[in-house]
């Protein structure tokens, strides 16, 4: 008995003496290491195989594209792997001059051949890259990827010498520099990838710790699954003298409550996402940490227009007009902004609003469609995936019941089934969202064409597609945007999707983190971030 209690006492003392004195953030401030809540563990660091935002954060520290991200502005296009670029009159051909002497993290030179190799690998039919459509801007890229062309030389990308990259596009793309900031356009080190397998080999070890080589400001230091990914400063980076951090540690914080607690306990410099129900508490108690940055994402109700009643545009418009978006955003979607169009703020593109909160019109449209005061309306349900959308669906359910006297059930599914049901059109209406890849309306509009894998509404319109097609072939940027405004207006008049909120990135940030401004795409260049090591500095 005494032996047992001795053991017990020794274990307990071990636990209780292990109290920490300096918080992890304070220690990291001294060492200039940024501690980042990253929302989950990357699936892989092979930029040709991943599709997620979580991966993009880590990849953005390890690699750099032709054009860089600016720490303060979404529209500035700082030079990165390329120092200059020019285009022909109709924006179908671009020439990038690469930075001479820029090196991979193993000291080898970064050349135009690495870019050509990267695009060849991404487009290789045997690699089966899931995000390959991002490269379909390039001439013949789609045909090569689908195996219709065997010779990669026919694809519109050429290295002219070591430092000139010529890209021919299938149509005018005036916003190409912005697109090249996406990781699908980054180079990969040809010499390293081929050292670990063939160009089209999917499962190789080139991205493992110790093997991976990048051209970004940081190199991979360690990766323990579901624990952390650590990167440290890359001494071979061309702009290394301006890199302020010595490293970044990404934590796979899936549980947002745990993440928030860890932040407040001094374990993180920033969180990935603040749970909406904690926003009021943070506003009151910790306003100095709270950030609500606009984000290029939309939330909407996706409607299956093949269902009776829902196939009537008047019904869909009635459903849309009866949503009080403002109160939805004020109460449930803390931090989000009420949306009256699909595309959020994209700079020069200003879509026309056609929906507003208008109960009278909503009820009249519903009656006109044959369901006065909701009478005879089929009993449908709102499909949601597991996670944080339940309260949103309940608020929408209540609004439709109260305003239109239509009762929708709520049907929750696990995530995989929820996605699968949408792709099979096996739902009535569902809550969904979309995050833009770059700042151009195409990232929000192209998906609503017939047969697009992300449409999932059963809706299509020849007029809509004609407008998109005209815009695609227009070499005049202003004219092009005007056509997109018309296209979005048409889409909104039909309401196969009922947008209700523009996303915001709501998170916590330590005030010691400097050079961190709100960015629509949330692509903060890690190389520009600074840490002020003074404790609690404002």
């Amino acid at each position: 008995m005494t032996r047992i209690s001795l053991y017990l006492i020794s274990i307990l003392t071990l636990f209780f003496t292990a109290c920490q004195k300096e918080t992890q953030v304070e220690k990291a401030n001294r060492e200039k290491i940024l501690l980042v809540g990253n929302g989950g563990d990357p699936k892989s660091l092979d930029l040709h195989l991943v599709t997620g935002v979580i991966e993009s954060k880590v990849i953005g520290s390890l690699f750099e594209g032709l054009v860089g991200d600016h720490p303060q502005s979404d529209t500035e296009m700082p030079s990165a792997a390329a120092v200059s670029w020019e285009h022909n009159a109709d924006y179908t051909e671009w020439v990038f001059q690469l930075r001479q002497g820029a090196k991979w993290s193993d000291g080898e030179l970064v050349t135009a051949h690495d870019f050509v190799f990267a695009y060849n690998r991404m487009l290789h039919p045997e690699l089966a890259a899931p995000y390959v459509e991002m490269l379909y801007f390039i001439k013949n890229a789609e045909a090569y990827n689908k195996g219709e062309i065997i010779d990669f030389a026919k694809v519109g990308v050429k290295a002219e010498g070591d430092y000139t990259l010529r890209i021919q596009l299938k149509e005018p793309v005036p916003y190409l520099p912005g697109v090249t900031r996406h990781y699908t356009w980054f180079p990969v080190p040809k010499h390293i990838v081929l050292q670990h397998g063939e160009i089209s080999d999917r499962f190789t070890e080139w991205t493992d710790v110790g093997n991976i080589v990048g051209n970004g400001a940081f190199v991979l230091q360690s990766w323990k699954m579901n624990d952390h990914v650590a990167v440290k400063k890359n001494p071979h980076y061309w702009d290394v003298e301006h890199v302020k951090l010595n490293g970044v540690r990404f934590f796979p914080t899936e549980n947002t409550y745990t993440e928030t607690r860890a932040f407040l306990a001094g374990q993180l410099h920033m969180t990935y996402q603040l749970p909406p129900d904690l926003v009021p508490k943070m506003e009151k108690e910790y306003p100095q940490f709270l950030r609500k940055d606009p984000y290029v994402g939309s939330r909407f109700v996706r409607v299956n227009v093949t269902r009776p009643a829902l196939n009537d545009p008047r019904v869909r418009m009635a459903l849309s007009l009866s949503l009080d978006r403002k109160s939805l955003c004020d109460t449930v979607l803390q931090g989000f902004a009420p949306a009256d169009t699909l595309s959020p703020d994209l700079g020069a593109y200003q879509p026309e609003s056609v929906v507003a909160y208008d109960l009278e019109k909503a009820r009249a449209l519903l009656a006109e469609a044959g369901y006065p005061n909701g009478k005879g309306f089929p009993r449908y349900s709102i499909l949601i995936g597991s996670g944080g959308t339940r309260s949103t669906s309940e608020a929408i359910q209540a609004m439709w019941k109260k305003n239109l006297n239509i009762l929708f059930d709520i049907h929750a599914m696990d995530y995989g089934s929820y996605i699968s049901a949408q792709q099979k059109l096996d739902f009535d209406v569902t809550l969904a969202g979309w995050i833009g890849d770059y700042l151009d309306p195409t990232t929000f509009l192209l998906m609503w064409t017939e047969g697009n894998g992300n449409n999932n509404t059963g809706w299509h319109s020849d007029d809509f597609e004609k407008l998109l097609d005209d815009a695609a072939h227009s070499a005049d940027p202003a004219e092009r945007l005007k056509l997109f405004v018309q296209a979005e207006k048409l889409l909104m008049e039909e309401q196969p999707i009922i947008p209700f909120a523009w996303q915001a990135k709501t998170y916590l940030l330590q005030p010691q983190v400097k050079n961190w401004q709100p960015l629509l795409l949330d692509n903060h260049p890690w190389s520009a971030v600074e840490l002020n090591s003074e404790k609690g500095a404002p």
Binding site: L14, A128, L264
Partner: protein
Amino acid sequence: MIGKLINRLLQGIVVLFVLYTLTFFLIRALPYGPFQTEKAIPAHVIEKLKTQLGLDQPLHVQYIRPLKNILLEGNLGVSTRLEGRPVNEIMAQAFPVSIHLGIMSMILAILIGLPAGVISAYKKNSMVDYLLMATAMIGLCLPSFVIGPILAEYLGRSKQMFPVMGWDVRQVSTWGLPVFTLSLGYAAYLARLTRSGVLDVLSQDFVRTARAKGVSTVKILVKHCLRGGLIPSAAYIGPAFAGIISGSLVIEAVFQVPGLGRHFIKAIETNDANVIFGIVLLYGALVTLGNIASDFLIAWLNPRSRAQS
């Protein structure tokens, strides 16, 4: 004894085989495939992936191939969710964490539960007994996803005694919250089992005889009662040990412990068949071994059960 052990192990292998078969068909019954992402993957890319992973082959080929690889090479294949990372590597990283968390929690549960049960039984119907048993009842009723965040908020954030997130083998303070939270429910159940077991023995004639002979209380409890009184607990500890390792999913999520549980949940959510096989078979083997160990422990504690079998 050896014959019995071999017999039980062979039964275990049959159990694992049945487990594999059931899992194989359950995975096929999932309404989503391994390439279902929010942003749709082009159809021709999915076809290519299916061919590469052999998912376009007849069912019996798909059934036999992983089985053959596991039995002949000990190779569990690659994860589709983690873009080709070997399942063996995933398990090698995560399983030691789960085992470590499980063993520490079980030890703590035994250290809390057994003494509490013995004291409770000895002080039957006293204030001490009521207090201990009421605490145990609370421990049993409060799920770990409630107690975990409460402890983290108080001991972690407010008192800064333990980190509220993460796990480091070399840093004992990181074990504190997950181990303590995970052990509570098991400690409570063990306390109740031990109490009833010891009470049972305390009312036996030989205990009265020992008392009459003037044997000290401590000696009666430890030497005469504990062995018999522990039988219910021993029957529980074996399977519970397997349960504590496979059942730490919630704790892993709350405290961000990089164990197997998180891989398991995500593998099921994304139809990552090889990872599911690996973890199901491992858990299956653990439960089987836990049960066998429990039976042998009881046989050692209770000579009568040896005679019966």
